[in-house]
């Protein structure tokens, strides 16, 4: 069994009644929308508009408007796809892994993480769709009975696996997130003053009453979903990694990729969670629920994962040398560590393997600004990691005659900025309209915050999430 004091208090500040918890968490929904929100939203929408324009150009003019070529056929689109998917890993990782590890402190963060997951996976899904030469025929990927024979799909293709995995991940993480919110919507429905809000949230609460029958099935559902989604967390990014690992490209064709990608995804996801959580803490005064201890815990996880990342990088390089394959050797030693793309490699290495080591220091972990900046750097480093994987391997592969450089075009950059805008707009909407913290779960753990655990009899002491 756990001891809550390992992580410090779960809820800071004065002792809160249940009703206070509801009110404080739901405050942003009823509060006047702050000015900065409109500003941020406007910027996000502008970014999104640029992205929409880029997509429009891509659809009407063609992928030729990008910087990709016959040698480097995947560019920013795939880098960004993997990056977003990685970020999108945090939600499920938080909910599932921390649930399995019985970490109570996740309750304050998992809602935000899951929301971020859904938005990030949406952003991610846009890239493979739009980078298709004929994206309007994307439905060819579905193995549906058709009038062509029927002509099925290629079950060997990692892209098909990817397609299945991403759609599954999107659907599952979205429903996981949503069903987690149903009791909170019900709270909103029953406590809000606005008629419209009551109606809307009432609709979204799907008829939740909080009866014991509902809670019972809800618990069962959480148990089942949690159990299988844990597999998903590992499988999705493993499958994304097979896009690379199952190919013959030097630097891609490696069995290290699945664990490396999964860990990397959790790394970037946690970093993004940290970014968001620090923002929530500052902007929405959720400091009582998201305590320094929470930030500290995430930072500790990050420092651990960072070590794994560093090991992975070094392993890759070692294997490239040890394998004796001249192609692998060239890719790692002449096109990553040195060569045209050395900057990207070292940016990755420093941001991901070295910088997070600062988290060993408690002082750093407790300084919100430093944590925030490091989390941004990790996000950046993870982007560079994907750049390294995608571009360096493609640009110089087997036949030197076809070696070519890759430079992103404004359309590609615009597309990426567009998804950043979409992400931030999504997150802003989440801040504004959805309970940022899982109210019922916080209420449930709030009792562990109090010192009056005497009431609980040993026989009754269960874990029930």
């Amino acid at each position: 069994m756990y001891k809550t004091d390992i992580r410090g208090k779960l809820i800071d500040g004065e002792e809160k009644s249940l009703s206070q918890i509801s009110q404080e968490i739901l405050a942003p929904i009823d509060a006047k929308t702050p000015r900065w929100w409109y500003g941020a939203m406007a910027i996000s929408l502008l970014m999104f508009a640029w992205g929409a324009r880029s997509i429009y150009i891509t659809l009407t003019v063609g992928i030729g408007s990008w910087g990709v070529n016959n040698t480097v056929a995947w560019g920013w689109a795939i880098i960004n796809f993997v990056w977003w998917i990685g970020i999108g890993h945090a939600g499920t990782a938080f909910s599932i892994f921390l649930l399995i590890l019985r970490q109570k402190w996740r309750t304050a963060i998992n809602r935000a993480a899951e929301a971020m997951t859904v938005v990030a996976v949406f952003c991610a899904a846009l890239f493979p769709l739009m980078h298709m030469g004929r994206s309007w025929l994307f439905f060819y990927v579905f193995p549906y009975p058709n009038t062509r024979g029927p002509l099925w799909v290629n079950f060997n293709s990692p892209l098909f696996w990817d397609f299945v995995a991403i759609s599954a991940y999107l659907l599952i993480s979205a429903s996981f997130w949503y069903f987690g919110m149903v009791p909170d919507f019900a709270t909103l429905r029953d406590t809000n003053k606005s008629k419209i809000k009551r109606a809307v949230y009432g609709f979204f609460s799907f008829g939740w009453t909080g009866s014991s029958k509902q809670w019972l099935r809800y618990e069962g559902l959480a148990f089942v979903l949690g159990g299988i989604a844990a597999v998903l967390v590992v499988s999705v990014h493993s499958i994304v990694s097979t896009d690379f690992a199952a190919s013959v490209e030097p630097g891609w064709h490696t069995t290290l990729f699945p664990p490396y990608f999964v860990v990397g995804a959790i790394f970037s996801g946690f970093a993004m969670v940290l970014t968001l959580v620090t923002l929530m803490k500052k902007l929405y005064k959720m400091g009582d629920f998201i305590t320094e201890n929470h930030v500290d815990a995430v930072a500790r996880v990050l420092v651990f994962i960072s070590l794994i990342m560093g090991t992975a990088y070094i392993t890759e390089i070692f294997i490239a040398w040890y394998s004796g394959s001249e192609y692998e050797f060239y890719t790692f030693f002449k096109n990553r560590i040195t060569g045209d793309y050395a900057f990207q490699f070292w940016a990755m290495f420093i941001c991901n393997a070295l910088l997070p080591q600062l988290f060993w220091s408690r002082k750093v972990r407790r300084n919100l600004w430093v944590v925030f900046i490091i989390s941004l750097f990790i996000n950046l480093g993870m982007w560079f990691e994907r750049f390294n994987i995608v571009i360096t391997s493609l640009s110089k592969n087997y036949l030197p005659s076809s070696w070519a450089e890759y430079h992103p075009s404004m359309v590609e950059i615009g597309f990426f900025v567009g998804t950043l805008g979409m992400f931030s707009a999504g997150v802003l909407l989440f801040f504004r309209y959805i309970p940022q913290i899982a109210i019922s779960e916080v209420k449930m753990v709030s009792k562990f915050n109090k010192q009056q655990t005497t009431h609980l009899k040993p026989g009754h002491h269960h874990d029930y999430e």
Partner: protein
């Protein structure tokens, strides 16, 4: 068909008082209609004696999905229209595993969700049968059907109040049967 029902509603302020009252009432043989709480309380779920077989359903879905997926892929790739890809045999079983895992998870999740929705009546447009609106905020509600509660009303009121119920009131509502 619409008929009116009379209920007795006990309102509690804390989980502990609720559990105590709940267990006492059960001891006394009170037939408790339903308990509404802001978060799940295991003692209650246990005490209400309702069981969920959602986990079994999920397992069944999983088995079904694995069989269907493997069968479907085998049919599509080997039986219906075998195509040569990269010198591999038609039956590329290892490739099928990947899809089977993920698609099974998806199927299980979705079907379990639908099952949950159907059984718990949690679906878009479903109407909440709210007994006391505070039950989703900070109150713990015990609901008793006056026709079926086995024990007299004053007795129960006294019992609840003795365990710290903040309020006990009667409620008459229509219920579609």
């Amino acid at each position: 068909m619409i008929m009116n029902k009379k209920y007795l509603v006990g309102v509690f302020d804390s989980e502990h008082t609720l559990i105590d009252a709940f267990e006492k009432a059960l001891e006394k043989g009170v037939n408790i209609e339903e308990v509404y709480t802001p978060y799940p309380i295991h003692e209650i779920l246990h005490g209400m004696k309702t069981k969920t077989r959602i986990t079994y359903a999920a397992f069944f879905y999983g088995v079904m999905a694995v069989a269907l997926l493997l069968g479907g892929m085998y049919y599509a790739a080997v039986v219906d229209w075998p195509l040569h890809f990269g010198g591999k045999p038609f039956n590329t079983f290892p490739s099928f595993i990947v899809i089977t895992i993920v698609a099974t998870i998806l199927t299980v999740t979705l079907l379990t969700l639908f099952t949950f929705s159907a059984r718990s009546k949690i679906y878009p447009g479903s109407k909440a049968e709210i007994i006391d609106v505070r039950a989703t905020d900070d109150k713990f509600i015990i609901l008793l059907d006056q026709d079926k509660m086995n024990v007299g009303k004053p007795e129960i009121t006294e019992l609840f109040e003795s365990f710290g119920a903040s309020e006990v009131y009667e409620k008459e509502t229509e219920k579609t049967a």
